[in-house]
């Protein structure tokens, strides 16, 4: 079969889209930004009858606040996330992670829903969603369900979504002034690179102190899916986050990951880098916290 034979349908509403997914006999692939999907088509990995182009479904494009929750539509592009004042205030870790996805051209086309759906263990936005405790809404013609980000991914490229479902919303609780986050990435170079290891950190701080009330740490590219570092998280609230404490917490990180060796790095280096990035991230985050605390309001 030739690539030129792959057809495309462009539904204008979610309902129309779900109906097609449910009832049509053709094999579909969803097309959002296309930054991964088109590559797969070109590599011959996908041989489907028809694209389901989601770009005309305006109801999937939003970044909004509803009561105490942030809601992001799956078609929000990385650029939209980066430039959203709402997310800059309430999801700094996601904004930073989105900034690390490819370069401007990829950020303008690539969507958060696509990044989630692709489910790459190296996907940059996924650890950030773990750190935010995000929930993913899946919708089919028969109904909706909520899955936490941590339960959503099964393995490389594999998620719990059924073929008749699509991602319709990403949501997480709004965060206060004392909730701070950071995303750290180690890639082969600064721009346009796939993570060797990345980490998203989200902390709740006690005002005026270096004490952490709790937080989440999630690593990417060091396992079949993104991994929470629960041992490290448990240590966050043991005492003031001094430089010594930061290195103590970081020194445990390598135990929480299960990387493989590939063309980009060896497993042992990745294990060590989990610790290194956590240390660097916590240090930078605490420095920012201290600098901000010093700033007069």
């Amino acid at each position: 079969m030739y690539v030129s034979e792959i057809d495309m349908l462009s539904p204008h509403s979610l309902l129309e889209c779900l109906y097609l997914l449910e009832n049509d006999k053709a094999s579909f692939r969803l097309l959002a930004g296309g930054t991964d999907a088109v590559v797969r088509m070109k590599e011959g990995k996908w041989q489907h009858d028809c694209w389901l182009n989601l770009n005309n479904i305006d109801e999937l494009k939003f970044i909004a606040i509803e009561k105490d929750e942030i809601h992001i539509g799956p078609l929000a592009t990385h650029s939209e996330i980066i430039s959203s004042p709402l997310l800059q205030d309430h999801a700094d870790v996601l904004v930073q992670a989105s900034r690390e996805v490819g370069a401007a051209q990829m950020q303008n086309m690539g969507t958060i829903g696509g990044n989630i759906g692709t489910a790459s263990p190296a996907g940059d936005t996924i650890p950030a969603l773990f750190a935010l405790g995000a929930s993913i809404e899946l919708t089919s013609i028969t109904g909706k369900r909520q899955v936490s980000a941590e339960d959503f991914f099964i393995g490389p490229g594999k998620t719990v979504a059924f073929p008749n479902e699509i991602i319709t919303k990403i949501s997480f609780k709004i965060r206060g002034k004392h909730d701070i986050g950071i995303f750290q990435k180690l890639g082969p170079r600064k721009a346009q690179s796939i993570s060797i290891v990345n980490v998203a950190i989200s902390l709740s701080m006690k005002e005026g102190t270096k004490e952490c009330l709790g937080g989440r740490i999630a690593f990417g590219s060091v396992g079949p899916t993104v991994l929470r570092a629960k041992k490290c998280e448990a240590m966050l609230s043991l005492g003031e986050l001094s430089n010594d404490m930061i290195s103590n917490i970081s020194s445990v990180a390598w135990k929480e990951v299960m990387p493989i060796s590939d063309i980009r790095a060896s497993a042992s280096y990745r294990r060590d880098m989990a610790s290194a990035l956590l240390e660097r991230g916590l240090y930078r985050l605490m420095k920012r916290w201290a600098d901000n605390e010093r700033k007069p309001l």
């Binding site: 690539v3 082969p188 170079r189 600064k190 796939i194 880098m273 660097r280």
Partner: protein, 764 residues
Amino acid sequence: MKENHFKYIGRRVPRMDAPEKVTGTLKYMTDYHFEQMVWGKILRSKYPYARIESIDTSKAESLPGVVCVLTHKDIPGFNGFGIVVPDQPVLARDVVRCTGDAVALVAAETKEIAEQALSLIEVNYERLNPVTDAEFAMSSDAPSLHENGNIHSHVIIKNGNTEAAFEEADVILENTFYSPRQMHAFIETEGGWGVVEPDGMLTIRCPGQYAYRDRLQIARALAMNPARIRVISHPIGGAFGGKDEITVQIYLALLALHTGGRPVKIHLSREESVIAGIKRHPFKVQMKTAAKKDGTLLANQVRAVADTGAYASLGGAVIALAIEHCCGPYKIPNVDLEGFCVYTNNGISGAFRGFGVNQVCAAIETHMDMIAEKLGMDPIELRKKNAYEKGDRSSIGHELKTSVGTLKTLETAENCELWKNRETHKKNSSEPWKKRGIGVATSFHAVGMGIGLPDYGAATIELMPDGTFKIGVGCEDIGGGNSTVYAQVAAELLNCDIDKITVIQGDTAKTLDSGTVTASRSTYTGGKAIAAAVPHMFRLLTEAASALHKVEPENILIGENEYYAITENGEQASTYEELYAYLQENRLSTKVEGHFMLPKEKEELPGSGGAPHHLYGYLTHLALVEVDTLTGETEVLRVVSIPDAGKVLNPQGLEGQAEGGAVMGIGYTLYEDVLMEGGYHQTANFTNYIIPTIRETPVIETFPVESTEETGPFGAKGIGEVVMIPIIAAIMNAIYDAAGVRIMHLPATPERIYQALKSRDVRQ
């Protein structure tokens, strides 16, 4: 600075081709598209080493939309190509020696159909164990990949007595260095189109670095009179040596013979380019260097092994140049140097900016840094102490007869801000775990082909009806900007405005053979050839003016943009248009030629494979780096490039070379390597072949020292290659200065630096 009394030479003349390039209007060969065109595709070998048992093309031929399917049986002439030894089959017959080997060709109505047809060609292979290590390839256990064994070439240079020198030395260093398989990564992948014209002429439009030689290689494979073939090889979307060898020209030619006069286009995907394109030779360099307490270098012993992959291409010349340059621009009295160029099943290596010198410079300049440290000497002082000057004898034992700028470049390095304030710069690291360091290295690179190879330039100047001059030079502009330099030289010498000059390049129908665009030679060669043509144009126009005004030629003066006749009625001016009209009316020639032979050394050093060269360019680099000791990441923050390219003809062009070379050198040192396993490429495309982006670009300053070379055009030499050489060792030395680890296996990836830091910490 001396005052520049030239109108164009030494000026920042903007590139002539810029308006077309910045607006996207310039048509590259791969931009052409015709309604009746067919697409060509190449079937590459499935295995790195195998015997071909059979090839069945019948299914592919019967696929609707397929125009032709060709195999080795369809080659009318000689089934081989290669610049020096034609050991690479055009289409493999009985053996494949790398996954880049071409086995069959398809032309079809669409690219998709052509691709589909490739998958329908049935090739039965008997797999053989690939040879993937160059040292193993040289052993008696390895199967012979070619008739004469796996050692393609072996070069030796010996001087003095190294054994005795090592006895009396105060410092001896001995290390092994490994270098990566760098990819040219030109932005335009190999491609172009071919057509048999209505009159039977075969036209091949394909970017290359030597149209005339490409034509010969095509003619040999087609058993066709080269005069019936026209090759157009310019413009080019980047080359760097990677389009010096045949890329797809012969495939275009073969297919064009079978498409009934329809144009056939090939444009490789990046993935195919990675597999089939040549690369920089990975080297293993074992070096033992000795010095006295006072820093005087005593001896250097080198054994370098280059992995040329399945075919020679220019591998023999690369190892020869490496050995010629492996002692640096120094006078070491005792040397024992040996190089091997070895066949394996690891793709194909060939020409690449620097041509073997990059790999050996990394070794000698690391040793220089280590000697300086051991002796407590300033690293620049140590280099100055050992650098040769014009008239001195080099390490390989020949007398330097042309300009040598090493000392000037080192003095400039010593006095630049970065070096003078290096202790302050080192303290400014941005975070506690980041360490800064500064490194220096110096090197040189031959200009021209060396002994035993033809090395000449030729240019034409044609007066056009509109009073402009058309300059024709065979040498292509592969991006370096020689077209603008040619226009500057021509305008300066002809005494006309530069907008009266047009330049054509790289077309066997319109330009004379002027040799390759390699070996940093095209400014020097083309410039001199134009200079050789100018007096002929003067004579032509003087004679025309003299006839026109009926005065003796002695009474004709060459003015700016016009000629003056001193007549009884005073001075009378003639414009170029008027002179053209006179020549035209009288059926006189309006075109002149200039020819130039590059000066060479008289005697070859026995066993050296072409050394010494007559002319060299020199350069010193400084680099400031910051190493993240938590991760091993290195960032190059500042680079100072101090070239001696002789007289600088266009400062903007020179800076462009220096900046581009520096960033390519950063890529080589820190990021780039085409990884192979068992003869298969692990690196597929730009997703995992990492070249520097604008975000990796440091502040780069260029301070040329101009050691005028009397034989060159206006005193110029060459610059294209040396700009990326010493920076490699400068970064390696800066990493050591910053973090205390010596990385001798490039690229110095974060992982390699991190592991080195870790094992150093364990040792301490």
